[in-house]
């Protein structure tokens, strides 16, 4: 994976999510990649945390009503709205209304065919062939074909370009790896077998939108796509308006005549706009701010689980964390439900110090959930007095304060060292950048569609974002085998090896997997749902 230095300061972070407090602007983020943040939701039926906090008042009509304009609130994009370089939630939402992916990643983590109708692995997962949907045209009438798709991915894979997706493809797909088999078939030749590859060309890697062959930037000036809406106007300080795309490939969709996005620079203003009826839905709701909405008859708050996390990283190659018992002591000192309640407003799911979130299908089920155990902490420390400095940037402040307080309760002193984000992610990425080289730190990671996107950079020996400096040959081998495995049993077996190693060694402590919410007016609209990455799909939204 390339050094995460392709763009802005925040892009240096593996997460656009600003720590415990979800940044409404950058929360998808990250240079990291594959971004997508994730998946989700494993569904309420499986004990997940997905669900609607407050049910809509009206039932969904049998026949969706056509027409109407959905008014959405969102923070203004901090940078240009460009599918190739974007990393913030607002820009992503705007582009997703206009352009489309080969595959959509649904809120339940299912891959849903969009511009690609089907796909299949070849040569044991080293090649993937995608068959395109026929009859799709761009909004200017240009037909979609395999050459167009190839051109889109060539742009994304160009190491000399500004693609924000480069890190997601690192070690998997390189420039020159995309070819055209025929007018409707695109072939991806990988650098190594990767069974989860479809996720990398799906919305899970949010920059992978299919654009015209000659796209060279300036998306808002010439917004051409195959998505459900047409961008009619865009004002970086005010908002954007959209009308229904009559050439949209899915018959009968969207139901809405249009969408209007209004920019609010302040969270409170966005929230008040929803309460007052000025807008109908929030693009990027914050769980911690939706409290006032509970009990309001016309507001519905939908929530879904995700795979975003705050990594509490401990340097295993330096005292005091070179002692595995010390790391375990910290892991057993934390009150994970307390972190979830305090930092994530209870929307998250408990973590168990490994990177196989329960939402990942291969997640092991037989590793006991780690819980606060002061007696065990005392035994592990054996009377040693533990004190250390925890480095982080402002988005992780709430998380830092919470674990500082929790560790204090078992006699572990934590000195907080808050840096600016520029400082935290700055410096020499190979020598001294704080987020990779301090003794203990907190790094917000956006959700990932597949566990490898965490494992490879974060904990594999020599991983580009391996801040703990953890090195375990057994884990390395299992990670490689996991990516190449084509059967569920084999994948689960390798996943278990990885998870047990991380749980036991605790180089990175993961207390909670974050979730997301979306608040909307349930009296006026139906079909709106939270998404683990706060993506927008308004093709099924209709008026009540």
């Amino acid at each position: 994976m390339p050094a995460p230095s392709e763009r802005t300061t925040f892009a240096l972070s593996p997460s656009g999510r600003l720590g415990g407090e979800l940044s409404r602007r950058l929360f998808l983020g990250g240079a990291g990649g594959a971004a997508l943040a994730g998946l989700l939701a494993a569904c309420a039926g499986e004990g997940g945390t997905s669900g609607t906090v407050q049910a809509p008042v009206a039932a969904t009509p049998t026949a969706p009503k056509r027409g109407g304009t959905l008014r959405a609130g969102s923070p203004p994009p901090p940078t240009a709205v460009d599918p190739l370089t974007m990393y913030d939630g607002s820009a992503i939402a705007i582009v997703q209304l206009v352009a489309d992916y080969l595959i959509w990643l649904d809120r339940d983590f299912k891959l849903v065919p969009r511009l690609a109708e089907k796909w299949a692995a070849e040569e044991g997962g080293k090649k993937w062939a995608f068959t395109l949907r026929q009859g799709v045209t761009f909004s200017d009438g240009t037909p979609l074909d395999a050459e167009t798709v190839k051109a889109s991915f060539d742009r994304l894979l160009d190491p000399d370009g500004k693609s924000a997706a480069l890190s997601a493809f690192d070690t998997v797909l390189a420039k020159g790896g995309v070819s055209v088999r025929d007018a409707t078939t695109v072939v991806f030749t990988l650098e190594r077998a990767f069974s989860d590859f479809p996720y990398l060309v799906s919305a899970g890697n949010y920059n992978t939108l299919i654009l015209k062959k000659d796209y060279k930037g300036g998306f808002t000036e010439k917004p051409i796509g195959t998505g459900p809406f047409l961008l009619e106007s865009y004002d970086p300080s005010a908002g954007a308006t959209f009308t229904r795309n009559p050439k949209y490939w899915e018959p009968g969709r969207p139901y809405l005549d249009g969408v209007e996005i209004k920019f609010y620079a302040d969270d409170q203003a966005d929230l008040l706009a929803l309460q007052s009826g000025e807008i109908d839905v929030q693009i990027l709701s914050r769980a911690s701010l939706t409290g006032p909405l509970k009990g309001l008859a016309d507001i519905t708050v939908d929530q879904v689980a995700g795979t975003g996390l705050t990594a509490f990283t401990l340097r295993v190659d330096k005292p005091p964390f070179d002692d595995g018992q010390v790391r375990q002591a910290i892991a057993y000192a934390l009150d994970r439900p307390g972190v979830n309640a305090t930092v994530y407003d209870g929307v998250g799911a408990l973590g168990n110090d490994h990177l196989l979130a329960s939402l990942f299908p291969a997640a092991p089920k037989d590793i006991a959930q780690r819980a606060k155990d002061p007696a065990k902490v005392a035994a592990l420390l054996g009377g040693r007095k533990l004190s250390f400095t925890l480095t982080y940037d402002p988005p992780s402040k709430d998380y830092a304060l919470t674990i500082q307080n929790q560790l204090k309760q078992v006699g572990i002193e934590v000195v907080l060292d808050q840096r600016t984000s520029a400082e935290f992610y700055g410096g020499d990425q190979a020598k001294d950048t704080p987020w990779l080289f301090t003794d203990a730190n907190l790094v917000g990671w956006a959700g990932r569609a597949v566990p490898s996107q965490f494992i490879i950079p974060m904990v594999k020996s020599g991983g580009v974002w391996n801040g703990s400096k953890y090195a375990n040959p057994a884990l390395d081998a299992a990670a490689k085998a996991y990516d190449a495995a084509t059967g569920d049993a084999e994948r689960k077996a390798q996943a278990e090896i990885i998870a047990k190693a991380l749980n036991e060694d605790a180089p990175v402590i993961i207390t909670v997997w974050s979730g997301t919410v979306r608040a909307y007016n349930g009296r006026r609209f139906t079909g709106i749902a939270a998404h683990p990455a706060s993506y927008v799909d308004f093709t099924s939204v209709s008026q009540l």
């Binding site: 969270d267 409170q268 929230l271 008040l272 911690s288 701010l289 409290g291 006032p292 009150d335 439900p337 307390g338 309640a341 305090t342 402002p394 402040k397 709430d398 830092a400 304060l401 919470t402 500082q404 307080n405 929790q406 204090k408 907080l416 808050q418």
Partner: protein, 280 residues
Amino acid sequence: MSAATVLAPRRATRPRVPVALAAGTAIVAAWVVVALFWPHLAPYDPELQDPLHRFAAPGAGHWLGTDQFGRDTFSRMLAGARPVLLVAPPATALAVVAGTLVGLVAGSRGGLADEIVMRVLDALVVFPAIIAAVLFVALAGRSVTVLVLVIAGSFVPIVARSVRAATLVERERSYVEAARLRGEPSWSLMVREIFPNVVTTVLVEATSRFGDAIFAAATLSFLGLGQPPGSPDWGASVSDNRLWLQLAPWTVLAPALAIASLVVGVALAADSLRGRWEAS
């Protein structure tokens, strides 16, 4: 009623303390006591988190409710007095001493030295204090000492200009001229003749700047340039909790009202004292 009664001398009474002065002093004194003894007054550890009681409304258990971490707002309000009062008084004292010295010297000597000093001070006054503070804190790091220096530094030009203006007036008075004719050296003119007559200006500046220093300390903390994260500092508390103004207004109102009450207390006392000094 007899004439004797009417003409009887009135019983001597003690000078009355103005209500404003009494009220202001009482408020300030109360906060000073709180700053010194909050560990004995606060019902809870202001840093103790309670995830099960986040955003609890004011009530019997928590008089002013709890914040997003479940921390007791009342206890944090009490504990927040100390950071402010550790910064504002020394910053004010430093600014007044330095400003008085600069203003006195510049005003007494006049000439080119006065011109140079005053133009420098004019430039400093024009430069936005907040930007200067941000730069300084970024370079020097966060600490009480840095805050004191930043606030004092921003007030020195203001105090110096006032003292210089008063000095220029006094310098032309006949008693100064007489002293000069007597052959008193310039330092003596400045210290023995002029300073006692501009001390009212100095006191007025001191009281005014004290209120400003409180507000400045809170502002810097609000901007994240003050106390470390998690501190119950009032400015930081307002900043940290403003997102939840709608959900838990008490988390913002408590520290905001604390700041307001202390500033108002200082202003009441200062106005009253200023009136007395100027009258005398």
